[in-house]
Symmetry: C2
Subunit: 152 residues, 2 copies
DNA sequence: GACGATTAAATCGCATGCGATTGAATTTGG
DNA sequence: CCAAATTCAATCGCATGCGATTTAATCGTC
């Protein structure tokens, strides 16, 4: 079958990208009740995961870890700051750099937040080995796609 | 190790949900140049995939297929209508129902759109068997998560 | 047939994502 | 040393997602 004939038969439900897209939304909807109790949205939770682990980080390093850019993270971090969970300060040595540091109130959420992360991780319907394998393969696929985008 | 001790060690990079989240964004960013040439965003492309296959569909059926709600799809469909790719009409038999039908201009994008879908499907770094397996497992996981959300 | 319950879509508000641009600080090359 | 290039974060505009609510139409039960 040539590419055109194959293309005519392709359907949304078999597309890899749509499975990833709809899976990501499904997780986000599933997590909402638990994250609501923490007062966090899912992207805010992702940022807090980084801060619970690292305590302090620059904007640049954060963009690399969460794979989002400053145009997304700046408003999000301002909301976290308004909620009292982080401090945002300019770096003394290089004024271009923004330092982000978790506050006492942010640290106070750590235990509950990390417990939530575990509960959520176990809610996928896969067994533990399956969860680990799928997580690794999706991460590998993501890195492969990102690699291709860079070298394009 | 108890749950609390396990939770303290958990990191963003090993979370299943974050792999799905970052994979979905990676696909979206990777696809953008090709979708730009079609004049579509990724969610618009998803809707057009359904319409290229079905020609005509109700809003209700569309929300089930793409797993998004009318509050997301109404503005998106109005943009597609403004671009001349779809018609939106009220159903004669039941005025609550919105019928969505692809136009000639929308059909004219079908061949290019479906070819794009094939190119994109092959860009993940997995071989064909791996693509199919991952697609199926992600879809199964998504359905499992959605099932749990419903019964919660 | 009436009327409360249900269903479908739209509307509103808020929080992302991200391309494009801007502005400020630093680095680099001559 | 200094101007151009680079880097970093912020800003702006637009397009999602989605919870909550509203509006309109239909259904179900008496």
């Amino acid at each position: 079958m040539d590419k055109k004939a194959f293309a005519e038969q392709i359907k949304l439900e078999v597309l890899l990208c749509f499975s990833a897209y709809s899976l990501s939304h499904a997780f986000s909807r599933f997590y909402r009740p638990m994250l609501d109790r923490l007062g966090l949205t899912y992207p805010q939770f992702v940022v807090m995961m980084v801060l619970w682990e690292n305590g302090k980080i620059t904007m640049k390093a954060l963009t690399d870890l969460v794979m989002l850019e400053s145009n997304t993270l700046t408003p999000l971090l301002k909301k976290l700051e308004a909620a009292g969970l982080v401090h945002r300060t300019r770096n003394r040595d290089d004024e271009r750099v923004l330092d982000i540091e978790i506050t006492e109130a942010g640290l106070a959420l750590k235990a509950d937040g990390q417990l939530a992360a575990v509960d959520l991780a176990l809610a996928s319907g896969e067994d533990l080995d399956g969860v680990i394998e799928m997580q690794q393969r999706m991460a590998k696929m993501r890195d492969s796609v990102r690699e291709k985008l860079e070298t394009a």
